[in-house]
């Protein structure tokens, strides 16, 4: 599915700077590097570039590395490891040795702290697998109106994978976690270049940590985790945004106190009462805001581009994916006429309630001219997508129904 232009960009030794290519054909370059509604500076500074072990992805920033997955990869049920998006806050990212790696499980809210090696983790505990969407909280931030500062993600800070590893609750049980455990805190090896930069440390409520689906994952899509996605071990919190999915995990701490740190507060906060969410993180709530928790219901058209042209009489397939925070997708509806009428799309195999669900819809347009296509998902709890952006200062939870124009000639 790689276009010839993409191929040229990548094969010319690497990577031409975006500026050179953009002058040649701005429309096409912009399409492949993100939606036109991104800030113009974000589109101009993006380029296709390949991190070691990865395919060329859309570079948002080199250091720390923030790379998003081109939408065409989302036509597969599971996103290939070498195309999976990369997101870091801090630029010091050590290569971790599997042999030397150790995980410490400790804290004031457990009785029997211990350390464990990679071999012990993979040998001494039941290994389970869950299919789950991993989505950056800030996915689609670049589409916020007005624009808000941060990594200006388009649609690609997301992927779906089969995660395999040990249940977090099994490790906590071995450590004798106590009833007064309030939060479970995660730290990994990545850190800031300056000592003064707050280390990236995250906590989740004890109830979510004890959920049977929350994993300490060693594998992704049947392979060891790629370095850029957390090798050797990362946390997987199905349903919740990826800010909690700590990469290069080195410590798990059970505490009876709310964890205080920059990356919990003021970072990763949403205003209270604006979103139809179910999961609460009570120990971190303030008067005005709360940590982001589960993903809102959302969908993405993956096989069409805005402005694409078709011949009159040709059958058109609209296809994509839909996901939510763990209830599972109930329906996806497609509109061929800008939202006046809606038809049920066909849902593909259910891969589990934390996985995204592929869907498709076929039709033959009855007239020539411009047609506005839309897709709208609903989950099993009855929540659906919005038509107007629910603005918030960090640009989270953008599940505005997409509008895609196609031309029939």
């Amino acid at each position: 599915m790689q276009t010839r232009r993409d191929f040229l960009k990548v094969s010319a030794g690497g990577l031409l700077l975006a500026g050179g290519i953009r002058g040649a054909d701005s429309a096409v370059a912009a399409d492949s590097l993100g939606p036109a509604a991104l800030p113009s500076g974000a589109l101009q500074s993006a380029q296709l570039a390949a991190l070691p072990g990865k395919l060329p992805l859309i570079k948002k920033s080199f250091r720390p590395p923030n790379f998003e997955t081109p939408v065409r990869f989302f036509n597969e049920a599971f996103t290939p490891n070498n195309a999976f998006f990369v997101r870091y806050h801090l630029a010091d990212i050590p290569q971790v040795s599997q042999q030397r790696w150790k995980l410490a499980v400790s804290g004031d809210a457990l009785d029997k702290p211990f350390e464990i090696t990679y071999e012990e983790l993979s040998r001494d505990f039941e290994q389970v697998e869950v299919a789950a969407v991993c989505m950056c909280s800030g996915n689609r931030r670049g589409l916020s109106q007005p624009h808000v500062p941060g990594v200006q993600w388009g649609h690609g800070a997301i992927g779906n994978a089969r995660w395999r590893g040990v249940r977090l609750r099994d490790l906590l049980a071995k450590a004798g976690v106590k009833k007064d455990a309030l939060e479970i805190v995660f730290d990994g090896t990545d850190r800031g270049v300056l000592d003064k930069t707050p280390d990236f440390v995250k906590s989740i409520p004890a109830w979510k940590a004890m959920d049977e689906n929350t994993l300490v994952a060693l594998e992704m899509n049947g392979e060891k985790l790629p370095h850029w996605n957390g090798f050797p071990v990362r946390i997987v919190v199905p349903g919740w945004t990826a800010t909690y999915w700590m990469k290069h995990l080195t410590s798990i701490t059970a505490t009876a106190q709310p964890y205080q740190g920059f990356w919990m507060n003021p970072a990763y906060r949403i205003p209270k009462g604006k979103f139809p969410l179910v999961d609460r993180f009570v120990s971190q709530e303030t008067e005005v805001n709360t940590p982001i928790t589960e993903m809102v219901v959302n969908s993405l058209v993956t096989n069409l581009e805005d402005g694409q042209k078709f011949a009159f009489g040709q059958e058109i397939t609209v296809a994509g994916v839909a996901w939510d925070g763990g209830f599972g997708i109930a329906t996806v509806e497609v509109s061929e006429d800008g939202g006046r009428t809606w038809r049920a799309a066909q849902l593909a195999t259910d891969l589990g309630r934390f996985s995204w669900r592929q869907w498709s819809h076929r039709f033959v347009p009855g007239r020539a001219g411009s047609h506005m296509l839309m897709a709208r998902a609903a989950n099993r709890a009855g929540a659906t997508q919005t038509f107007e952006l629910i603005f918030n200062p960090a640009g989270y939870h953008n599940n505005v129904v997409q509008r895609i124009n196609i031309e029939i000639t």
Partner: protein, 92 residues
Amino acid sequence: MRTILALMMVLAAAPALAQESQLRLRDGPGRQLVEASCVMCHSLDYIPMNSPFLDRKGWEASVNKMIKVMGAPIAEADAQKIVDYLAGQYGK
């Protein structure tokens, strides 16, 4: 101060990709100060990526966050020059 900055640039984590060295900011008063201050911790593409939608207040907030939260060792006088450059070259 310059010596410290230069030293810290050397100590900074090695870029994952050499293409980072090809990034250039727009020419303008203060460009070298901005480049030296920002590349300690992150690549320069963060600046054009966040443009042109921040006004002077927006860039001031970003620079303040880098100093007060992230611990960037930037003197107050330099911070003003950095904000001037960002608002002038990459502002709304």
